[in-house]
Structures are given as C-alpha cells and as structure tokens.
Assembly symmetry: C2
Homo-oligomer: 241 residues x 2
DNA sequence: CGACACCTTGAAGAGGTTCAAGAAATGTGG
DNA sequence: CCACATTTCTTGAACCTCTTCAAGGTGTCG
C-alpha cells in the first residue's frame, strides 16, 4: 500500500485549487487524474523546454521556480515571466506546435506533465475543464497586458515596486509571508524582466533600503512599508496638481 | 432572394481563412455560421467594449481598425495592440468575466459578434474549432512576448522599425502593398504602444526619412528600404565585434 | 474661415546606461 | 574544511538616449 502512493493524482494534490477547476464531481475528478501523464524533475539551471522544441504538453509546476524568456535573432533576450508552484507553463507552444521561449528552472523543480492532446480531449467532455483552460490562457494575456503597461510607462522605481508587490502577493497566496521573500533570480534576470540593467535594479534596491521601505541582504528581502511601495506604483512622477 | 443576402455567414466570408479554421466539412461549416450572432458597427472613436464591461463575446473584425488599451489606477494608459480585419479581440475578458481593457475603433469598423458561450459549446463538438480557439489565444500570448522584448530591450529606432515592419507584413497578408501604408493611429498612440513619447516617434520618423529609409507625409508612409529597417531590428547598438 | 487636433522641431534636462572597480557570496576541488 | 575561482552584487562617475517644455506649422472639419 505504499508503492501506489507514488501515483500521480490531482485529486489528492494540495495545489489542485491552483491549477485545476473547482466544483468537479467525483467522477470528473477521477478522469482528471489521468490528465497528468507523468511528473518530471528539473534540476536548477536546466530547461523544461526550449525555443524550437516540439510542443507536446502543458506543465503545472508542483515545486520550484521558473523563468521564461524569449530571445531575438541577434541574441538579446527578455525574461517574460517568473512562475511558481501551481502555475501553468507552455501555452506559447500551442499556436505553432513549437515552443517559442525557454523555460528554465531557477531552483530544483518538479512539474506535472499534461499532454495537450489529452487536455483537449478531456475538456470536450468536462465543461469546467474547458472553461478552466480558457481562463488560464486569458489570465496569461491579461498578465502580459500588465507587464506591457509596466514596461511602457513606468519608471525604474515604480517597476521594481510593482515587481516586489506582485511577488509577495503570489507568495502570500501560497501561504508564505506577506513581508518577507527570497528572490530566486539574479539582479540581471529581474532587470531583464523589468526592462532595466542589473545596476539599476541594484541601485533601486539600495534606494528603497535607504528610505526604509525594504531591507535587502542579497536575495533576502523584507518589506517594511508595503504602503510606500503601493504609493510608488500608483502615484507616478510626483504630480500633486 | 436579396434580403437573405444580409444573412451573417462565415461560410461565404472572404475573411474566413483569417478567423476560422481550415478544412471544415460542409456540415461543420454550416454549424459555424450560427456562431456569429450578429454584426455590429462601431463608428470611429467609439468603443467596442470598455474596461469593466461584462464579457459576453469575442469579436472578429470584418472591417476597420482598432486599438486596445489598458490603464493603471492612476490614469496612465498603454496601448496593448492594434488590430485589423480578420483578427479577434476580447480574449482579455474570459478570465474574470469582465473586460480589462478598452477596444476603440480607429476608423469606422464592423465586427462579427461571437457569443463566447456558443464558441465553447461548438468547440466541444468541432475539434478543429477547439484547436483554433486555443491557437488564437496562444498566438496572442506569443505576440505579447514579442512586444515585451521590444519594450524591454530595444531602442527607439529599433522599436519603430519593428512596428512598421509588423504593420506592413500584416497588411500585405491582407492584399495591401508591401511598401506603402496609411497609419490609422496618431503619433501619440504609436508612442504609447512602443513605450515612447509622441515627440520621439515623430523625430524617429523624420530621422528615417532623412536617411532615405522611408517617406513620410503625415500618416502616409512609404517604405523605401525594407532591408534597412530589418537591419535596424536585428542589429542593435552597432556591435560589430 | 476659424477652431481644433495633430505633427514637427529645437533646446535643456533627467533618468537610466555604460564602464570600471571592488566587495560579498557561492561553489569546487584538494 | 579551507583556499581559490567564479558568480553575483554594489557603488561611483561619465555619458547618452529619451523626455520635457515650448513654439510654430500643417491638416481637417464644421
């Protein structure tokens, strides 16, 4: 009775409410268990998939932390997102049957492999799953709208403030602290995501620390004044008129 | 026999190959005709939907030109895309049942209203439609990755060059010229999309014109050296080492 | 024709980058 | 377990791109 405990099953996964729809019948739940073909471990630094890889599956992150990044023909690259437990990656591959970005584990990770054919098959039968898949994709579109707003119209401090608030908010939803976090990515990766150079990220961290808004020790960040960060995001270039 | 000619029908729409899947059976095609509930005219300057509106349908653009834009709580806004005939808008509304951006017609437009409930219903039966919906959403995600790369790592000239190339390429796919185009948006809207100020957009247009790469007369642009634009996009800050 | 929106151009200024050097942490191999 | 190599982070100073502010020109529509 302990060997079957290895069995991959959404029904008893504590992340289910993050990556699967709610309110499924017992029968539907059982069928969804079959969705996850296997699990796959990805050691820190390895890629789950790369630009150009054939698209076969979506991946639900069980543990660990990822970044996704695209690169232009001339070698520049851009981090398009950081993903944590319960989030789904691989959506970029659907349109052309090839992945168009790299997904790199920033710490040892494990993902649930959900073959896309099977997702499509099942979501024809289970309305809640169909709706769920649509929502996941729409959520990603809306998230990217937010990043475009950030990249297109915010200044360095606002970008970093928005970044920190977004991270703690997502971590908090997973039971972690609202005020303390450990960055899993380098300053350079943060900079790439935010459209800034690593020096600017570092300087801005220091500035926030000087102002008593946060405490920074390498990758350990403690937020002392959440309100100050929120103010920074919503009140741009100090217009008081 | 001429009143029914008003009937909304994908099966005899010349844009079908842009917004609908290929290789449908006659039967499937007939059922897809029912997808489009109505058409809706949107005069220039009006919104098709606004941030906060209830999400009910996706819209396929039949004629005209749209911009979509999001805005932050403090009033900044960001153009997230420009859409033309054959493209589908409204995907942002799926996740929360509310639209999270505005879709504004930049010229008199007409759209096909496709109630989302009906899309979901039909795509459970017609595999090609299901796959198509997934691809449309994935395509939007990939497009936004490209915009993030542009906003995060390109300089003004590269951004504008990429923007022009993208526009003509899409226009060309619709049977228009490869080298001549009429901008439907203001410099300010271009700037918002590209993360630049309108003056920078204007100056960069002038610079390209001085260099003989394009001709600009207000909103009329003629591309004289496509290759020069492509070079600008792929060869950044003149690194030759 | 006049009002309004849109576009262009110049000059000064700011925010972020680049280049450079050194400090701190991390990992590796003996 | 320590020493060394490597990666990551911080900070300063000079520079550059884009922005801001301002003024004038162009086009359009009632």
């Amino acid at each position: 009775m302990n060997i079957p405990s290895i069995k991959v099953a959404c029904s008893n996964c504590n992340l289910r409410e993050l990556c699967m729809p709610l309110g499924l019948s017992a029968d539907e739940l059982q069928r969804i268990d079959d969705l996850v073909a296997t699990r796959r471990k990805v050691p820190r630094g390895d890629s789950l998939f790369k630009n150009g890889d054939k698209f076969k599956a979506l991946y639900a992150i069980r543990t660990g932390f990822f970044k996704t990044c695209v690169s232009s023909p001339d070698g520049r690259d851009q981090v398009t997102g950081f993903q944590m437990a319960g989030e789904v990656i691989g959506l970029d591959g659907i349109v052309s049957d090839l992945h168009t970005c790299d997904a790199v584990a920033l710490e040892d990770a494990e993902v649930c492999v959900m073959p896309f054919e099977r997702i499509e098959e099942l979501s024809r039968d289970i309305n809640a799953l169909q709706r769920h898949v649509h929502k996941i994709m729409s959520r990603e579109i809306v998230r990217e709208h937010g990043v475009m707003l950030l990249l297109g119209s915010m200044r360095a401090e606002e970008r970093l403030a928005a970044f920190l608030l977004n991270l703690v908010q997502r971590l908090h939803a997973r039971g972690f602290s609202q005020s303390e976090l450990v960055l899993r990515m380098t300053r350079e990766e943060i900079g790439s995501y935010l459209g800034l150079k690593l020096e600017t990220v570092s300087r801005t961290f220091s500035k926030f620390a000087d102002e008593g808004i946060i405490e920074v020790k390498q990758r350990h960040v403690r937020i002392l004044k959440t309100e100050a960060l929120k103010l920074l995001v919503n009140a741009p270039t100090c217009q008081t008129h």
